[in-house]
């Protein structure tokens, strides 16, 4: 449960919960909008005042659950700087798209620090804006006409403890790319900026 004392008070753990939850719905939205998984494998839910699509695929749910639980831990320990969703061609492994979420954390805050003040509704409103933009981005992103796979990359500080199940990875950058900056949201403890980079097809 989120450690939130009142509707306007946000603790470090509460902020980590909010951000992890956002990534769950954000990643699901990306996978649905970009057709990485078939649309019939998604179900609709109401969250942030939006109708969102989340996967019903057990394996995918399990995978996301593991990643996001770990992410939450790193958000609390303030070790994570970035989360990237990489979309690539299944056959050629070419990176076609990168959804980059830059994460900034208040360096001074600790788990036993006094909560910061920000209305949870305002945070949810900002998150709603980001997810709506993710949905709208399909109008300008190039069509993905090949079968695609996705990877999740988490960029950490050098001192961070990384479990054995995680392996080092290249950044999967895209040469000759276009980038579009989307909206950001802030819990007053964590700030998340969103950008999408895609292969220039013109």
């Amino acid at each position: 449960m989120a450690n939130v004392n009142s509707a306007n008070a946000v603790t470090l753990k509460g902020s980590a919960d909010i951000v992890s939850e956002f990534f769950n719905y954000g990643i699901n939205s990306i996978l649905y909008q970009r057709g990485i998984y078939p649309p019939e494998s998604f179900t609709r839910l109401q969250k942030y005042g939006l109708t969102l699509l989340v996967t019903t695929n057990d394996k995918l749910q399990h995978y996301l659950s593991i990643v996001l639980k770990q992410l939450r831990e790193w958000l609390i320990s303030k070790d994570v700087h970035r989360l990237v969703v990489v979309i690539s061609n299944i056959d050629t492994k070419e990176t076609l798209e990168r959804w980059e979420f830059k994460i900034e954390c208040d360096k001074d805050i600790k788990t036993n620090s006094k909560p910061k003040q920000k209305d949870i509704k305002e945070i949810q409103n900002e998150i709603k804006g980001v997810i709506r933009q993710i949905t709208a981005s399909v109008t300008f992103l190039p069509l993905l006409e090949v079968p695609c796979a996705f990877d999740l990359l988490i960029f950490m500080g050098k001192e961070a403890e990384v479990p054995n199940e995680w392996a080092e990875s290249p950044p999967y950058l895209i040469p000759d790319s276009e980038e579009v900056q989307l909206r950001s949201f802030s819990t007053s403890i964590h700030k998340v900026d969103t950008a999408v980079t895609y292969k220039n097809t013109e």
Binding site: M1, A2, D17, S20, E21, N24, Y25, P39, R44, L45, Q46, K47, G49, L50, T51, L52, V54, Q61, H62, L64, S65, L68, K69, N125, E126, K128, G129, R132, Q133, T135, A136, S137, T139, F140, P142, E178, V180, Q181, L182, R183, E202
Partner: protein, 325 residues
């Protein structure tokens, strides 16, 4: 925040095209913009295309739905009755949402057809100039107004014969600019409300039935204003405005009367008194001048029907932190 004639302009986005873009493409872009605004401003729970898909899927589910349980089995009778009641309740809610969605989509299709009609084959009949998307009770006093300004088509002989930009690449360009423009669309909550589409077109009699002329309509002063300006980059082929220019040379201009005669050289119209000037050329100059419409030649028309947004009341709420499985 800029003020223009007492209107509060919240944001302006200028989308400049270097290549030729046909009027039909601008019409399609306007339609896509309306769909985008309706979703982004919370008038519909899903983007337009996804809403259509949802309605199709739900209609198929309704057709294939069967009653629960077997009334002959006394053991499960109570459970079946309860389940059937719950199911009927959720069906009622779902059917209500489906009816609203169906009505919404039908209204939109009619409106979109009208917009595309004004930029269709006989585009010269309407010369669509502006599209207004008014969100609020009435178009006279809306909460938000989105003004889509279309450019006049270039008249330069070189430009009009160049290969037009495709619709897909225009749409990519447009939405990339819009999403990149910070604060273009408000993030404040807006409950589903009436959406009225107004078009500024050339006066034409008679107008189609679903275009109601509003002779005294003006762009409303009230409400937040967002301006979306389509424009062409300056043409490098002509230096002057769109008025035709003529040479004072004594070459035979008879042939060029039937062709594009945008440019030859700067001429003085008073030299029509010159006996060497072709009389047909004089008539053509006057004719062309008259063909360029003035502001008074345009009127506002309201498209019927008005579009009514709706909320999603039947999709279940996500439970708190249901990712922790």
């Amino acid at each position: 925040m800029a003020r223009f004639k007492d209107r509060k302009v919240s944001a302006v986005c200028v989308i400049e095209f270097k290549e030729l873009v046909q009027q039909q493409t601008f019409g399609k872009l306007s339609v896509e913009l309306i769909k985008y605004i309706l979703y982004q401003r919370e008038q519909i729970p899903l983007p337009f295309v996804q809403l259509k898909r949802w309605l199709t899927d739900e209609s198929e589910k309704v057709d294939s739905a069967k009653p629960i349980g077997n009334a002959e089995s006394n053991v499960s009778l109570c459970t079946n009755i309860k389940l059937n009641q719950e199911r009927k309740q959720s069906e009622l809610i779902r059917n209500k949402k489906m009816r609203k969605a169906k009505r919404f989509l039908e209204s939109c299709e009619e409106v979109f057809d009208s917009v595309l009609l004004t930029v269709g084959e006989k585009q010269s009949d309407f010369k669509l100039q502006q599209v207004l998307v008014c969100l609020g009770g009435t178009p006279v006093s809306p909460k938000e107004v989105y003004i889509i300004r279309l450019p006049r088509q270039p008249t330069c002989k070189h430009c009009i014969h160049s290969a037009p930009k495709s619709f897909r690449s225009c749409m990519t360009r447009l939405f990339r600019e819009m999403i990149s423009t910070d604060g273009l669309l408000s993030s404040s909550k807006l409950s589903p409300t009436q959406c009225t589409i107004m078009l500024q077109v050339l006066r034409k009699n008679p107008l189609p039935k679903n275009m109601e002329p509003k002779l005294y309509f003006k762009v409303p002063v009230r409400g937040k204003h967002v301006i979306l300006d389509f424009c062409f980059s300056n043409c490098c082929h002509v230096e002057m405005d769109q008025f035709p220019v003529f040479s004072d040379s004594d070459m035979d201009l008879g042939e060029s009367v039937n062709n594009d005669i945008n440019i030859i050289a700067v001429g003085d119209l008073e030299s029509t008194n010159n006996s060497n000037m072709d009389k047909s050329l004089v008539c053509l100059v006057e004719d062309l001048t008259l063909k360029i419409p003035s502001e008074d030649d345009y009127i506002w028309v309201q498209l019927k029907p008005t579009i009514k947004g709706f909320k999603d009341s039947c999709t279940k709420q996500a439970s708190e932190l249901n990712i922790w499985m």
